[in-house]
Amino acid sequence: QQQVKQSPQSLIVQKGGISIINCAYENTAFDYFPWYQQFPGKGPALLIAIRPDVSEKKEGRFTISFNKSAKQFSLHIMDSQPGDSATYFCAASMWTGANNLFFGTGTRLTVIP
C-alpha cells in the first residue's frame, strides 16, 4: 500500500503566488522527510528535508511545515517562478538496517508567467 500519500496530483499557480503541496503518512517510525524536485528526463534532486523534532524548516523560498500529531507535512513554495515548474515528490524513511525512501505519487506544478 502507499506509505506516503501526496496531494494534489497537479497544481497550477500564477507567477509570484504560493504553491502548497501536502503529504500524509501512517507509519510513526518514519524519522526523515525529504522533498525532491524532478524535471523531465532528469533524476530527482533534493530540495529540502526535515526531521520530526522541528515543526518548520525554511531554505530560501522553500518551507517545510511538519505536524507530527497529524502525521502530515507540506511544502510551501513562496514567490513561485516559471522555473519552478516540475514534479515534486515528498518522501519518508526510517532506519530498518537500510535507508530506503518511500515516495509519494508526485505533484506536477505549473507556474504560469
Binding site: 525532491y36 532528469k42 535507508n99 518511500f102 508526485g106
Partner: protein, 113 residues
C-alpha cells in the same frame, strides 16, 4: 565534482531478455540504492548496497538482482524481462548507510517491447 552517473541512458529490450544497468556513485559515497520509477509515479525502492553488501531489498521479484564492486559502483540486473519492467531506473548514492541524504543520478530509461 561529478554527480551520480548511470549508463546507458536509454535501452530497448524485448520480453524475456536480460538487462544490466550500471551506476557510479559520487566520489567518497559508499552506499548505492536502486529505485524503479514507472511513468507518472514516485520511485519505488529496489535495493540498497553498502560496502558491497546488500542492506535492504524492496518488494521486487527474484528476477531483480544487484551487486556492488570494490570501487562502490553498482550493477542492477533484471532477468526474463516483462512489459511491466518498462520504467526509469534510478540510482542514488549516499556517504553512509543510515539517515543520509540520497543523491540521484539521471536514470536509465528501459523500454521492454
Amino acid at each position: 565534482d561529478a554527480g551520480v552517473t548511470q549508463s546507458p541512458t536509454h535501452l530497448i529490450k524485448t520480453r524475456g531478455q536480460h538487462v544490466t544497468l550500471r551506476c557510479s556513485p559520487i566520489s567518497g559515497h559508499k552506499s548505492v540504492s536502486w529505485y524503479q520509477q514507472v511513468l507518472g509515479q514516485g520511485p519505488q525502492f529496489i535495493f540498497q548496497y553498502y560496502e558491497k553488501e546488500e542492506r535492504g531489498r524492496g518488494n521486487f521479484p527474484d528476477r531483480f538482482s544487484a551487486r556492488q564492486f570494490p570501487n562502490y559502483s553498482s550493477e542492477l540486473n533484471v532477468n526474463a524481462l516483462l512489459l511491466g519492467d518498462s520504467a526509469l531506473y534510478l540510482c542514488a548514492s549516499s556517504p553512509g548507510l543510515a539517515g543520509e541524504t540520497q543523491y540521484f543520478g539521471p536514470g536509465t530509461r528501459l523500454l521492454v517491447l
